[in-house]
């Protein structure tokens, strides 16, 4: 056990797992956010499909549709730049935790429809994630991989190639 922990610490100390996790989650979320930003009304329509927010009065659902894509982009940028890495990872983990059950619920509704013929993994729909129509099982795998990847920046002791650590080091050198 001690050897395993030692190996994990050594691997983490190299900074590679952190860098890979930051790049994977950061690039994925930047891509998804970009697609939502490119067509804000399509995202608004998809948010409505989840019935997770009251449609009347409209201010809440409109605010979610207006702000969430940019919020995702800010979190992705934070991860990629290596600034507030833990906070960004926590927020992305939280978002995936919130939207995951909603995705499953929506897929279940489509699967339960009488006209649908096929297995649960055959359910394909536009989840509003920014990728167009996707198969639910693939989407859940992607989300799970991203959530697991978020755990690395949350618990890693490394700050390899993080802007925040480079700035801290520069400040320490100057003082």
């Amino acid at each position: 056990m001690a050897t395993f922990v030692g190996v994990v610490k050594r691997v983490d100390g190299s900074g590679i797992p952190l860098l890979v996790a930051r790049l994977f989650v950061g690039l994925l979320f930047a891509y998804l956010a970009y697609n939502k930003i490119a067509d804000p009304f399509e995202f608004l329509k998809q948010v409505r499909e989840y019935h997770a927010f009251a449609e009347h009065p409209p201010q809440l659902i409109n605010a979610v549709a207006a702000a969430v894509p940019w919020f995702e982009m800010v979190c992705a940028a934070a991860l990629l730049l290596g600034v507030f890495v833990r906070g960004a990872a926590l927020l992305i983990f939280g978002m995936l935790l919130f939207f995951g059950p909603l995705l499953l619920w929506r897929a279940w509704m489509l699967y339960s429809a009488p006209e649908f013929a096929g297995g649960f993994c055959d359910v394909k729909f536009d989840c509003g994630c920014g990728t167009g129509e996707v198969f639910i099982c693939f989407k859940m795998l992607e989300n799970t991989a991203a959530q697991l990847a978020c755990l690395i920046p949350l618990f890693s002791r490394s700050r390899f190639l993080c802007l925040s650590s480079l700035l801290t080091r520069k400040r320490t050198t100057q003082s």
Binding site: I37, F41, P58, Q59, N62, A67, M73, C75, G87
Partner: protein, 187 residues
């Protein structure tokens, strides 16, 4: 400060920054800006005079606030000489990209979510028309229904409005032509 507190603080800062950036960018986007106060999905009431379609198997026979039109009937409208001199008007309720990629030839665009950019051109034509047929992508698309609701608000008579629920998906499956690009509005 311990790691948990620091992490939570980072998350709060990112939340505030992210939401602020979101609202600021939304405000600057012009026609792509989401109007926070606009009700984009109003409830549309069933009109007292709404009739059920003759062929319920082809159309969604559930209560529809507007008269429904089958693909066959839309083709008849399109083939009719009255469509050429705009006594009949076909309205495409989809976004720019979808419209330009392909639409019913002669259909005018009226993107519901950017509707105020289109009303000035569309309203004079639909007010003078005997029939206005509105469509969007297909049965899963609400945009045509919402545009019909908007036409009622600008005083287009209910009797003149028809909803083509089969939409672009149905038209594409026919041998009838499609038009791409933007229809030039003649003043």
């Amino acid at each position: 400060m311990n790691k948990v507190t620091l992490t939570l603080l980072e998350a709060v800062v990112l939340c505030v920054v992210g939401v602020a950036v979101g609202f600021a960018m939304n405000a600057m986007r012009g026609r792509d800006s989401i109007d926070l106060h606009r009700d984009y999905h109003p409830k549309i009431k069933v009109h007292a005079g709404a009739e059920q379609p003759a062929e319920p198997s082809e159309l969604d026979a559930a209560e529809s606030p507007f008269q429904l039109m089958t693909l066959k009937e839309v083709i008849e409208v399109w083939d009719d000489p009255r469509f050429q001199y705009e006594a009949y008007v076909i309205v495409d309720a989809r976004s720019d990209d979808a419209y330009e990629a392909g639409h019913i030839p002669g259909a005018v665009q009226c993107d519901y979510y950017r509707i105020y950019d289109y009303l000035e051109q569309v309203v004079p034509r639909v007010l003078g028309a005997e029939r206005v047929v509105v469509y969007c992508n297909g049965v899963d698309c609400d945009d045509s229904l919402l545009v019909c609701g908007k036409l009622i608000e600008v005083d287009v008579p209910w009797e003149n409005i028809y909803l083509f629920k089969g939409g672009w998906e149905k038209w594409k499956q026919t041998d009838y032509p499609i038009e791409t690009g933007r229809k030039q509005v003649q003043e």
